[in-house]
Symmetry: C2
Subunit: 409 residues, 2 copies
């Protein structure tokens, strides 16, 4: 029986007519090799940005229902053009908006979540040799309004469609060759990873955000749908993101991620009473601000220092809220720092090996890099350091864990 | 009870954000004056042309289902932006695609006809003070595919929506002040008509095509929906297109139309046997070519000369088909002329007055304009003349029928 592959191409891959023709060629090759194909596309190049700029001319904070109706047109353009290019090659391309197909989401306009994908319509067409070409990044809510999934949401559409179609693999085409041990622009010794587990991919957040939308990885993990991250421009097998148990042999540390887009906020000398964390983070969360690293430590005087990081875009809002919280809690000094970086080492192999943390801290110490915060999970250790030491830290850790060796897996 | 007005704005009226804001102002004034409003929009300026150019880069004759999916995005952009501009003014603007609303058409992609408009959803919203903003020019067929109505189809959407909503008036905003006795660019004595009947509007085809889509007039006539043609740029009452019986007093001739976009084809010496007209025009019609004027005359030798006009864009295709027909009919010389103009005088008053035709022919004779073809209907007399005499003919007839006098109606 022939394989069914869902292919998702991002904005760079369909930036102009020449690129769209190249995508059609790619699909033609896959079909000639005997597979069936369904396609998910983003909008052409910067067209979504152009639409957003247009809306901002009318209102810097436009109504979100209308914002979604507006920006969703970008993908509708690219899917129709690719269907034309496929038909020109004698392949039965057929464009579908998420609306036509029935990709149902909740009603959180501009950052909706997919609830359900109705593939009855296209399943039969695929069997008959057609190639459905579907708008990524969007859906419809229970009221029949158009919704969008937020930037990068096309990855999630790709995975959700692959799951609904029970596809063999979801290929995500990007402008990089796959997932690397660290960002090659930060360290040129970075190596391409042939395999990575869903969990690791989620933890490799900084690299992940660049090549794969995290929500898409969560979705794929939940339904065990293998994702292959491949280049739109270069040949190659890319990186297969899959279930841990399918990955035979692996290194202790798979990769190193680095993020310099966060800021750190600290509230000092808070009374250490039950519920104080909720009192501090509740108002932050109510304001729609996502918190990343959280560290709390109790001092000798039974008060506690509470530190967390947020995205820089939420920094000033978070600072204002935290100062109000400080007042209502009866004092506690608020300190902030937006010149930080977060470095993480990630690897499923870490669980079975002792001494990884101390090896990490020692490598940083040898390079005179001061650690401001530490947080750990089962397969990740993160440190927050000064932003201007980020590159040095990545290189030091990459060397310390021998990530530039050739990988067999 | 407050009036309900459907307002349709064309591409020029929503060409940029400033124009969209002006449209929002217009709607705000109408609402403040106590009316309820529903809106139909075309795509912004030349955006539809840009989309068509993009598709032609892939295929000069793209698949029409995909063509429709592509170009329909233009209106989706403009309706979302206008809804944002209305919301900014505290007016509950709410965009709808034809797809969302349920504007059902047949399946003739790129020139579909509206079958049915489902207004259940918006009727309640309008009662509650909302202003639905609907994509013109498009619909969906029975298979759930996106269709478009052909260029200028937004007028038809406007009228169809007005009919479905049982509106009091459908206002069509254009870049001219209304319907004139003739094209003001051809004769500067042209006067604005305050009233014109549906039938006259249909016959005033050349002017009509410039300000109003003829299919929209047919639709309005069928359901007796008054259309007001008004300027997007200047104040004024424009021209009310309505049922004949509502127009009290009127001139004999209402206006003069002129068309120089047609070509003439003649087949000579065809045996005059039953069914010959069908044999000649059948293949033309099968090729999707619309025929305008048709004249047939029997000669003394019992053969017939058969002449008809087609749009210049279909000229060479029609010539080829006619030569094939000539061969299969056993001879008959084919003559063609693409340097022609068609001039028509139109007026419901003509029916009650004798001598209009001879007055027309005399005016042309006095100006030494040779008539190549004549065709008449109840409220129109058309002549085909040489293209380079078009302007002279329009002016001569405008003077002969005193169309530059002030009109009371």
């Amino acid at each position: 029986m022939s394989k069914l592959i869902v292919k998702k191409f991002g904005g760079t891959s369909v930036a102009n007519v020449e690129r769209i023709e190249a995508v059609a060629d790619n699909i033609e090759r896959t079909i000639k090799a005997g597979s069936k194909v369904a396609v998910v596309l983003s909008a052409m190049g910067k067209s979504t940005d152009d639409l957003i700029a247009l809306s901002k001319q009318i209102n810097p904070e436009p109504d979100l229902r209308e914002y979604d109706a507006l920006v969703s047109t970008g993908e509708q353009v690219s899917v129709a053009l690719l269907a034309m290019a496929l038909l020109k090659r004698g392949i039965k391309g057929k464009s579908y908006t998420a609306y036509q197909l029935g990709i149902r989401t909740n009603s959180s306009h501009s950052r909706a979540r997919i609830l359900d994908v109705d593939v009855d319509k296209i399943t039969k067409e695929i069997e008959e040799g057609a190639v459905p070409v579907i708008t990524g990044f969007q859906g419809m809510n229970e009221f029949g309004d158009i919704t969008t999934l937020g930037r990068g949401g096309s990855d999630t559409t790709g995975v959700a469609l692959a799951v609904a179609l029970d596809a063999d693999e979801c290929q995500i085409f990007t402008d990089v060759d796959g997932v690397f041990t660290t960002d090659p622009r930060i360290y040129d010794k970075a190596k391409l990873l042939k395999n990575v587990s869903f969990e690791e991919m989620l933890e490799l957040s900084s690299m992940g955000a660049k090549v794969l939308q995290l929500r898409a990885v969560e979705y794929a993990s939940k339904f065990n749908m293998p994702i292959r991250v491949v280049s739109s421009f270069n040949e190659g097998e890319g990186t297969l993101v899959q279930e841990e148990k399918n990955i035979m042999e692996r290194p202790i540390v798979s990769g190193i991620s680095s993020v310099d887009t966060e800021a750190k906020l600290t509230i000092r000398g808070v009374p250490d009473i039950p519920g104080v964390a909720a009192k501090i983070l509740g108002p932050i969360s109510d304001a729609g601000i996502d918190v990343d690293v959280i560290v709390q430590n109790i001092g000798a005087d039974k008060t506690t220092d509470f530190t967390f990081t947020v995205d820089k875009s939420d920094f000033s809002k978070a600072e204002k809220i935290l100062k109000e919280t400080s007042n209502s809690l009866g004092g506690g000094q608020v300190e902030v720092d937006d010149q930080i970086a977060k470095i993480s080492i990630v690897g499923r192999g870490m669980r079975a090996h002792a001494g990884i943390a101390s090896k990490m801290f020692q490598a940083l110490a040898e390079n005179e890099i001061n650690i401001l915060m530490i947080t750990t999970s089962e397969i990740k250790i993160s440190v927050v350091i000064s932003k201007d030491e980020m590159k040095d830290a990545v290189r030091a850790l990459h060397d310390a864990f021998d990530l530039d060796r050739e990988l067999d897996t």
